[in-house]
C-alpha cells in the first residue's frame, strides 16, 4: 500500500510468498491473524511488512483450499480471535513450497553472483 512507502528498508512481499510464510508460521501451532502478521514481521527482523488486507485475503484463500482450518477461540490475553491451524494437506504443501523456494533462491543466487557489473548491460 502506498501509505507504507516511507519505511524504506521494508520489502513488499513477492506474490505468492505470503502463502508460504503463513504456512511456515502456523507450523509452530495455531495462531490468529494478528499473531501471524507479528510473527512474520519479527522473524524477518522487521524486513518484511505484511499488508494486513492481503494477509486476511491470503488466510481466506488458504482456508478455502483446505490447507489451513480456522476456529474462533480466546487469545492468551482473553480476547476473542479466529485461530488458524495447519491441516495435513497444508503440511504437505509447506514441504513442497519450501523446496520450490530453495530451488528458486539457489537459481537466483547463481545468476546474480555471476553478474560482474550490472551497468554494462545498460550500454
Amino acid at each position: 500500500m502506498a501509505t507504507q512507502k516511507s519505511v524504506d528498508d521494508r520489502i513488499a512481499l513477492l506474490q505468492g510468498t505470503l502463502d508460504l510464510l503463513i504456512l511456515k508460521t502456523l507450523v509452530l501451532g495455531p495462531c490468529h491473524g494478528q499473531g501471524v502478521a507479528r510473527l512474520i514481521q519479527r522473524r524477518s527482523e522487521e524486513v518484511f511488512f505484511v499488508d494486513h488486507g492481503s494477509l486476511y485475503l491470503a488466510l481466506q484463500r488458504l482456508e478455502e483450499k483446505k490447507w489451513i482450518s480456522a476456529k474462533w477461540g480466546v487469545s492468551e490475553n482473553n480476547r476473542k480471535a479466529r485461530f488458524y491451524s495447519l491441516t495435513a494437506k497444508g503440511r504437505e504443501q509447506l514441504v513442497e513450497k519450501t523446496s520450490e523456494w530453495a530451488r528458486l533462491t539457489k537459481a537466483m543466487g547463481l545468476i546474480l553472483s555471476n553478474q560482474v557489473d550490472p551497468s554494462v548491460e545498460e550500454a
Binding site: 494478528q34 488486507g53 486476511y56 480476547r79
Partner: protein, 869 residues
C-alpha cells in the same frame, strides 16, 4: 466444520479482533490506550479496502454489479432517448431483415423434405443437351425399373387435367397419374383407406383414386365414408380408396387433388420416344449418386442400342429430389440472405459508431469513475451491459419486424407459385429462426460491447480528466469513426450496385422483345371436353361460334385461340424432321402450338413471309404450318422456307405439313430463355379439347374478362372456363418475372436502407468532427481564413471518406455480382451504367451529408468559438 462461505460480519469480527489484539500488544510495548488504538489502525492500513476486497472475493459482488450496471445502463438509455430509439430501431431493422430471410432459407434449404429419409430420394430422369432433366417414356421407365440395381424402387408421375363432374357443372381439376409404388417410394401412407394394390397399376387396372387432404376436406366434407364413394373424372367413375395425410405435399405436382394409378395409356404413351413422365427413385443404402448415375447412364445407352434409337444426346440424370424442389430459389434466397447480412452489418456499424460517439462524450464521466477507483474491468462491464441491453432490445424489435416481414413476403408469393413451394408453409417464427435470432443478438451485443472497450483499452483514463472534451481526444474517435463509416459506405455501395443490377435485369426481362403486343389482351383457359361436340365437325363449329360471338362483343377487336398462350413455357414440344433430308432421329425439338386463323393476327404477331392461316385450312385440306423466324433460321438457313415441308408424328400418325408462312418470333417460352424454334398448326386441322382464348380489346382488357366468361357460358353451359387474366397479368405472374421482381425489390429495399444508414453515418462523423474542431475553425477564421476555405476543409474530409468507401464498395460489388450472376439477366456484373449511377448517387448523397455540417462550420463566429472554451 465452519460454514462454506464466511459472512462479511464474521470477517469484520475478525478484523476487529485483530485491531484489539494489536492495540493490546502496543500497549504492552508502552503506548497509551489512544495511541495504541490509533497505531493499530494505521498499521492495518485501509480497513474498508480490506472489507471491500473480501466482499469482492465472495463473488456475490458479480451479481451485485450486474444489477447496478443494468440499472445504470437503463438510466443512460432513458436519458438519451434519441440515441436509444435510433440505435434500437436500426438494429431491429437489420436483425429483422436477417431473421426473416433466414426463415425462408431455413424452410426452403435446411428443413428436410417431408418424406421418409428424404436424402435418399432422387429425381431419376433422362437428360438431354437442351435440358439436364428430360422426362421418361413409359417403356423406358419399365426397362429402367427392371434393369437397375441402384434403387430400391423407381416410380414415375405425370400431371393431368381432368373434368370433375359436380352438381354445379363440370370443373377442371388437377390430377396426377403415378406408378403403383409411388407413395411407398416417398414413404407416405394414406391417413385414411389404403395405398394402391400391386395390380392396380397394370394396364387395364381398375379406376381407383387417392384423394389429397384438401380434396377430401372440400369435396367430401372430411367424412370417413368418403372411402368407397365414386367420383366422375372425365366421365369415368373412379372409386375413392384413400386419403393422403394433411402434411403431404409433393411440390412438382402442385395442388393435385386426385391421384390415380398409371394403368391406362394413350397411344403415344406406349411409344418409347414419347417422353411424358417424371421419375423418382429411392437409393439403396450405401449406393452413391455417382454410382447410380453411372448405372442409369449405362442402361440408357444399352436401351438406345437395343431399340435402335438413333438420337445422339439422351442420357440419364440422377439428382437429389430436394434439388428439383428448391433448386430454383436457392441462388435467390442465398443472395437475399447475403443482402440482409450486409444490411445488418451496416446497422451494427452504424449503431457501433453511435455508441462510440457517445462514449466519447462520456469521456469525462469515465475518467471520473476511473479516478474514484472504478477498475478498468468494472468500466468495461458497464459498456458490455449497455451493449447487451441495446442488442437485447434491438433483437426483440428485430424478431417482431421479422414476423411482420415473413408474413408480408409470404403473402407476396402468388398462390399458383406457392403450391410448388410447400416449404413456404414452414416459414415463421419457430425454434430455428428463434435460435438464429438469438445468435444474431449475441453477435451484435459482442460487437456493440467490443467497440467502446477497444477504444477504452487504448486510452489512459487520466487523460479524460486532464483535458476535458477537447483537442487530441477527438482524434482517436475521428480515426475509428471514419474507418467505420468507410465500411458503411462500401457496404451501401455493394447493396446499391446489387439492387441496380437486379433492377436492370428486371427491366430487361420485362422488356425482352415479345414478338406480340401484350397490352389490351384478355385470355382465358377453355375446356370443351364436357360439351356435346363429339365429332370433329361439331368441334370446329364450336370453335367458330366461340370466335364469332366473342369477336362481336363491344370493345373487342378480334379473338383467337391457341393450344398454349405465349410466355408460359417451352413445353408442348414436337420433334420434327424434314422430308427429303436424311433423318437419323435427331432431336429437332420445337415448340408446337395449335392456333385458330385469327390467333396470330390477334396477338399482333408480325408476318415476315407467306400468309397466316385461314378458315379454309381445315381437316379436308392439306396440312399447313406457320413457322417462326428461329425455326426458319435454324433449319432453313439461307433458304426460303415457304413451300418446304416439315414432318412429325401427329397424334400417332406420321404427318406432313407444308410451310405457308413465317412469323417473327413470338416468345412462347419463359422471358429469360432464348426463343425456341416454334411451329403453328391450324387448330381446325388438329382439334384440341383444351385451349386458351386470346381476346384483343380496345380498352382495358381486365374489364372485359367477366363479359368474355359470360359469353362462353352462354354459348355452351358445359364449357369450363378458368384462369381468366389479362396477358400482362399472365406475364407478370410467371415464375421468372416473379423471382426477378422479388429479388430486385427486396435487395432494392435493403439498398435504400443501407444508403440512408451510410449517409447518416457520414453525416454523423463530419458533424462530430466539426463540433470537435469548432475552436480550431474559430482560430483559422480569426487568422483570416475565408468561408470558402472552411467549406473546403470540411468537404475535403468528407470527400476522402466517400471516395474511399465508394472505391472499396465498387471493387467488392463487382465481386459479389459475379457471385450472383445467376440472377442477372441481360446485364453484366460490371455494368458501367449501374456502377456509374451508384457512384453518382452516393456522391450526391455524401455531398449533401457533408454540406450541412460544412455550412455550420463556415458560419462559426470566431469570437464566440474562442470564448466558448
Amino acid at each position: 466444520m465452519f460454514k462454506r462461505k464466511r459472512s462479511t460480519d464474521d470477517f469484520a469480527e475478525e478484523i476487529k479482533a485483530h485491531l484489539e489484539l494489536e492495540a493490546d500488544e502496543l500497549k504492552r510495548e508502552g503506548l497509551s490506550e489512544d495511541e495504541a488504538r490509533r497505531k493499530a489502525r494505521l498499521e492495518f492500513g485501509n480497513v474498508r479496502a480490506a472489507h471491500e476486497r473480501f466482499y469482492l472475493k465472495n463473488r456475490v459482488a458479480g451479481l451485485d454489479h450486474l444489477a447496478q450496471d443494468m440499472k445504470f445502463a437503463i438510466r443512460q438509455l432513458v436519458k438519451n432517448p434519441g440515441f436509444s430509439i435510433t440505435a434500437i430501431l436500426v438494429l431491429a431493422l437489420g436483425i429483422g431483415a436477417c431473421v426473416a430471410i433466414f426463415g425462408f432459407v431455413d424452410a426452403a434449404l435446411l428443413e428436410p423434405l417431408p418424406f421418409a429419409n428424404p436424402d435418399r430420394l432422387m429425381s431419376v430422369n433422362e437428360s438431354s443437351v437442351e435440358s439436364p432433366r428430360w422426362p421418361l417414356s413409359y417403356p423406358d421407365y419399365l426397362d429402367w425399373q427392371r434393369l437397375n440395381k441402384s434403387f430400391t424402387s423407381l416410380d414415375v408421375y405425370g400431371g393431368r387435367g381432368y373434368l370433375l363432374r359436380t352438381p354445379s357443372g363440370a370443373e377442371p381439376v388437377h390430377g396426377e397419374r403415378v406408378s403403383g409404388s409411388f407413395f411407398q417410394t416417398l414413404g407416405v401412407h394414406p391417413m385414411l383407406g389404403r395405398d394402391f394394390y400391386p395390380g392396380e397399376n397394370r394396364p387395364g387396372g381398375p379406376n381407383v383414386v387417392i384423394l389429397s387432404y384438401g380434396a377430401w376436406l372440400n369435396r367430401f366434407g372430411a367424412r370417413d365414408d368418403a372411402i368407397g364413394q365414386t367420383v366422375d373424372l372425365d366421365k369415368e367413375a373412379y372409386t375413392v380408396i384413400g386419403v393422403l395425410p394433411r402434411e403431404f405435399s409433393f411440390a412438382p405436382s402442385g395442388d393435385a387433388e386426385f391421384w390415380v394409378p398409371l394403368n391406362n395409356f394413350s397411344f403415344h404413351e406406349k411409344s418409347r420416344t414419347f417422353y411424358n413422365f417424371w421419375g423418382i427413385g429411392r437409393l439403396h443404402d450405401g449406393v452413391t449418386i455417382q454410382t447410380a448415375l453411372a448405372e442409369m447412364k449405362a442402361i440408357a445407352e444399352q436401351l438406345k442400342r437395343q431399340y435402335g434409337i438413333t438420337g445422339p444426346e439422351l442420357s440419364a440424370s440422377v439428382v437429389p429430389l430436394s434439388e428439383i424442389i428448391v433448386g430454383d430459389v436457392r441462388p435467390i434466397l442465398l443472395t437475399l440472405l447475403g443482402g440482409a447480412g450486409l444490411l445488418l452489418l451496416i446497422a451494427c456499424v452504424n449503431v457501433g459508431s453511435l455508441v462510440l460517439a457517445r462514449s466519447e462524450s462520456r469521456r469525462r464521466e469515465i475518467a471520473v469513475r476511473g479516478a474514484l477507483g472504478a477498475t478498468r474491468a468494472r468500466l468495461m462491464y458497464q459498456f458490455v451491459t449497455e451493449g447487451l441491453l441495446l442488442a437485447g432490445f434491438g433483437s426483440l424489435g428485430g424478431v417482431m419486424v421479422a414476423g411482420v416481414i415473413m408474413k408480408f413476403l409470404g403473402h407476396l408469393v402468388p398462390k399458383d407459385m406457392a403450391l410448388n413451394m410447400p416449404f413456404l408453409g414452414g416459414v415463421g417464427l419457430n425454434a430455428h429462426t428463434g435460435t438464429f435470432a438469438a445468435v444474431m443478438a449475441l453477435m451484435v451485443s459482442l460487437l456493440l460491447a467490443a467497440t467502446p472497450i477497444w477504444q477504452l483499452s487504448f486510452r489512459e483514463l487520466r487523460d479524460g480528466l486532464a483535458d476535458g472534451d477537447r483537442g487530441a481526444a477527438g482524434r482517436l474517435w475521428r480515426r475509428l469513426g471514419a474507418n467505420l463509416v468507410v465500411v458503411e459506405l462500401a457496404v451501401a455501395v455493394v447493396l446499391l450496385a446489387g439492387a441496380g443490377l437486379l433492377g436492370k435485369s428486371l427491366y430487361r426481362l420485362l422488356h425482352v422483345p415479345l414478338g406480340f403486343d401484350p397490352n389490351h389482351l384478355a385470355t382465358a383457359q377453355v375446356n370443351t371436353s364436357g360439351t356435346v361436340s363429339k365429332n370433329d365437325e361439331q368441334t370446329v363449329v364450336l370453335y367458330r361460334e366461340i370466335v364469332r360471338r366473342v369477336s362481336r362483343l363491344p370493345g373487342v377487336e378480334s379473338a383467337g385461340m391457341t393450344s398454349m398462350l405465349p410466355v408460359q413455357c417451352n413445353c408442348a414440344i414436337d420433334r420434327i424432321h424434314f422430308p427429303g433430308r436424311p433423318y437419323h432421329g435427331q432431336h429437332n425439338d420445337v415448340d408446337e402450338r395449335h392456333v385458330s386463323a385469327e390467333y396470330l393476327p390477334t396477338l399482333k404477331a408480325r408476318l415476315l413471309r407467306g400468309r397466316f392461316f385461314t378458315e379454309a385450312d381445315n381437316s379436308s385440306s392439306p396440312g399447313v404450318a406457320v413457322i417462326n423466324q428461329a425455326l426458319a433460321k435454324k433449319y432453313f438457313p439461307g433458304e426460303d422456307p415457304i413451300g418446304r415441308r416439315i414432318a412429325n408424328d401427329e397424334g400417332g400418325n406420321p404427318s406432313i405439313w407444308e410451310i405457308v408462312g413465317v412469323v417473327d418470333d413470338v416468345r412462347e417460352g419463359p422471358l429469360d430463355v432464348e426463343t425456341w424454334p416454334a411451329e403453328y398448326f391450324p387448330i381446325n386441322q388438329t382439334r384440341e379439347h383444351y385451349f386458351s382464348l386470346a381476346v384483343r380489346t380496345g380498352q382495358d382488357a381486365g374489364t372485359l374478362l367477366p363479359v368474355v366468361v359470360n359469353t362462353l357460358h352462354q354459348i355452351d353451359a358445359e364449357l369450363s372456363v378458368s384462369d381468366e387474366a389479362t396477358m400482362n397479368e399472365k406475364i407478370d405472374g410467371t415464375q421468372t418475372a416473379l423471382l426477378h421482381r422479388f429479388s430486385a425489390w427486396l435487395v432494392g429495399g435493403f439498398a435504400a436502407l443501407a444508403l440512408i444508414l451510410g449517409v447518416v453515418g457520414l453525416y454523423g462523423v463530419i458533424a462530430y468532427s466539426v463540433n470537435q474542431r469548432t475552436r480550431e475553425i474559430g482560430v483559422r477564421m480569426a487568422l483570416g481564413a475565408q468561408r470558402s476555405s472552411v467549406y473546403r476543409l470540411i468537404m475535403r474530409q468528407a470527400a476522402w471518406l466517400a471516395v474511399a468507401g465508394l472505391a472499396i464498395g465498387l471493387v467488392c460489388s463487382v465481386g459479389t455480382s459475379v457471385l450472383t450472376r445467376k440472377l442477372l439477366f441481360g446485364v453484366q456484373a460490371w455494368d458501367g451504367m449501374t456502377l456509374g449511377g451508384v457512384a453518382v448517387l452516393l456522391g450526391l448523397a455524401s455531398a449533401v451529408a457533408s454540406f450541412l455540417p460544412a455550412r455550420r462550420a463556415a458560419s462559426v463566429n470566431p469570437v464566440e468559438a474562442l470564448r466558448a472554451e
